[in-house]
Every structure is written in structure tokens, then in C-alpha cells.
Symmetry: C2
Subunit: 223 residues, 2 copies
């Protein structure tokens, strides 16, 4: 399997975790989607990553589609599983992270601080947007912590699910930028420790994003 | 079944079409999500519609989650079906409509022209955003038309799928506002005629959105 990806994309991180937690080996191909690349546009006319090319040469486009494809094709489920109401709770938390969190936090902090510079945008980071994003971030992390005081994993499952992988993908990139005040979010920190300890997470913790130094405790379990 | 919804939300329209095409009867409850409502926030802490309350009193939150819930729980599939690669193509087109189309078109045209006024926003519509949205809209509709020259339905299925329902939800609200130049998109027009003719679509075509007169041909098959 081959995954077209970009390291600073939380959606690519989610797809990588989902593949790895499903037991797949895969290679990565870097795609800078903001640079015009007709070859890649022929693969995905939306011009976005992640894109998965499977062993039998099927092209599966987009993070949601890749994850649902894994759910459909794998016998043993570690992403979305259980009775329909539990699966719905997993998907609710995934959508919370991928939609609401991205809209209220990712698009301000991650976009303004990292993506703009990666794209060599001439527009400087919008400090008001970053400030607003930080306020939202705190609210989101308090909600996650509130849930994790009541549940071991984000979607009330007994083992890791796609909800945890989605949340960890978004949180890890903000943590890379030193945006997470771990002392303020104890329950979340315990949860993130467990996620960080997984084998699937190891490649993300040693990866660096060109032009950005990771926060000192980004890659370690002592944070 | 009960669906919390708002008529100007394309995601609610999608959920309604999905329920109806799956053979479900359901009642609707209007929820103006921009007005504070603690009762609704207890149901969905994200404060968003659609939310489905099932016959056995399960709360299913969010358009994606509702649709995947229907896919998981129904024997006979009319939303996402076929071999995994076909299901992936259906989901790719659904994500295209719900993510890319919304980001590039909905958030400019629909938001600026309709949602802002519904929310009694003090900020006037941004005419530059609307203009940019119209340019993007044309590109999206040309892509849909290009696909429909090669396929009977958007995701290359032999009958309607969730991809068509998603596209029609977004397009119908822009058509309500008179934004679609049907003469420029012949293949799409033939497809929309077929979608409009379905029983599931009828309730949408007679619905009016307070403060907005529908375009003259919005509700008719002669457009």
C-alpha cells in the first residue's frame, strides 16, 4: 500500500494511524498539494491528501473514505466497531475533531502558524485569529477532558477507536507547535500518554516538519 | 423517528433525503442553532443539526453519522452500496460535496446571501466572496456535468446513491436562490430533473425559507 500524504496534515496523520492500527504496512509519498502537480490531480481531482493506493491498485481518496474503506474491508475492527449506537458515538467524535475542531481551532492556529508559512504565503499570520483559536482550543480540550473523566477512551469504547486517532492527530500537530498546556488538562494528558505509547504513533513522534522545530517534549513520553 | 433540522442547511436536506430514500417515515423539528437553547445543547453539545432520534430512542448526531448509521442498520441499501471500491467512490463524491463544495461555494454564496440574514448578522453580505463563490460554483458544476456525461449517477452507480443526495442537497439551496444557470449545464439539468422527480425530494420543493422567495422554477420540473 502507498499513502500520498503531507506531515502537517492532521487528516493524513489520522489515515496513517488508522492504517497502522489496522495492521497494515504501507509506504509514504510526500505530496505538497499547494504546488501544481498534474500527475497528482489525475489521481485525485480534488488535489488533496491523503490518497491511498491499495495492494490491488485501487485508489481510495480522502481521509473519511480511507477510514470507512478499512472498516468495510477488514474482518477484525479496531477503528469503528460495536453495536450501531457505539459506532455512531465513535463517528460523532471523529466528526467533532475533523469538522468542529478544525473549523474552530485548526483553521486558526495550525493554518495561521504553520500552513501559511509552508505555502510561502505572502499574508502574515493573523494574530487575532490565533488568539481566538487558542480560546476555542482550551474549550475543546476541557470537553475532551470532561469526557475522559468518565470514559477511558474518547468514544466510550474499551479500547482505542478512530475517535482517539482523529483527536490525537489534531492534538499532536498543535503539540508540535507547543500549543497544548498539558498541566491544565490532566485527564487528557493521561489519555495522550497512552496514545503516544502506541507503536502506530512512533513514526509521527520522530517526524519533523521542515522549517519548524518541534516543542521540546513533543517526541517524548515525559511531557 | 424525529429529525432536528433547519431548512437552509444542506446537511439537513441530505439527512432527510437519506431517511426518505431508505423508506423511513419521520417527523421534523425546527432548531435554529444560532439561538442559544440549553435543551438542544444537552442533546448535541456541538449545537448543530441534523440530529436524529430513532424509534428506540437513540440519539444519532450529525449528517455523516446519521447516514453511516442508516448504512449499518438497514438490510436493503440505497445510500452506500456495492463492492468496497464502489462504496469508496460514493463516499468520495459525498465528501466532495460536503467538504470541498461547501468550502469553496457554500460558505461564500449560501452563507453570505442566506445564513447571515437568517442569523440577523449585522455584517452585510460580502459581495467579493459571493463573486468568488460563483466562479467556483461554475467549476464544480462543470465537473459534475463532466462526470454525468460518463455516468448516469454521480458516483457511477446504476441507481441513485448518497452521492446524488448530497449533491442535490447543496445544489437545491443554490437553486432556491436562483444561482444555477441550468442552460449552461445540460447534463446536470437532466440529472437534477431525475432527482427532483423522486418522491423523497417533493417535501423540499414546497418548503419555503422565511424571508427568501424561491426562484420561479425552484419547485417545478419545468426549469
Amino acid at each position: 500500500m502507498l499513502l500520498y500524504h503531507y506531515p502537517a496534515s492532521p487528516f493524513c496523520r489520522k489515515a496513517r494511524l488508522a492504517l497502522s492500527e489496522s495492521g497494515y504496512e504501507f509506504s509514504l509519498r510526500l505530496e505538497k498539494t499547494w504546488l501544481p502537480n498534474p500527475d497528482f490531480l489525475r489521481i485525485n481531482p480534488a488535489g488533496e491528501v491523503p490518497v491511498l493506493v491499495t495492494g490491488d491498485d485501487k485508489t481510495i481518496i480522502g481521509h473519511q473514505v480511507i477510514c470507512e474503506y478499512l472498516v468495510e474491508t477488514l474482518e477484525e475492527q479496531s477503528l469503528i466497531y460495536g453495536p450501531p449506537a457505539q459506532a455512531a458515538e465513535i463517528r460523532r467524535m471523529v466528526a467533532w475533531c475533523d469538522d468542529k475542531f478544525v473549523r474552530e481551532v485548526g483553521r486558526s492556529i495550525l493554518y495561521e502558524r504553520m500552513i501559511k508559512r509552508l505555502k510561502s504565503s505572502a499574508v502574515p499570520p493573523d494574530s487575532r485569529a490565533i488568539k481566538a483559536g487558542r480560546t476555542h482550543l482550551d474549550t475543546h480540550l476541557l470537553y475532551f477532558s470532561w469526557l475522559l473523566e468518565r470514559r477511558q477512551w474518547l468514544a466510550a469504547t474499551t479500547s482505542i477507536s478512530l475517535a482517539d486517532m482523529a483527536a490525537a492527530s489534531h492534538i499532536s500537530l498543535l503539540d508540535y507547535l507547543g500549543e497544548i498546556k498539558w498541566d491544565r488538562h490532566k485527564e487528557l494528558k493521561l489519555w495522550y500518554y497512552r496514545v503516544k505509547s502506541r507503536r502506530s504513533f512512533a513514526p509521527l513522534l520522530t517526524e519533523t516538519i521542515p522549517g519548524f522545530e518541534p516543542a521540546p517534549t513533543y517526541g517524548t513520553l515525559d511531557f
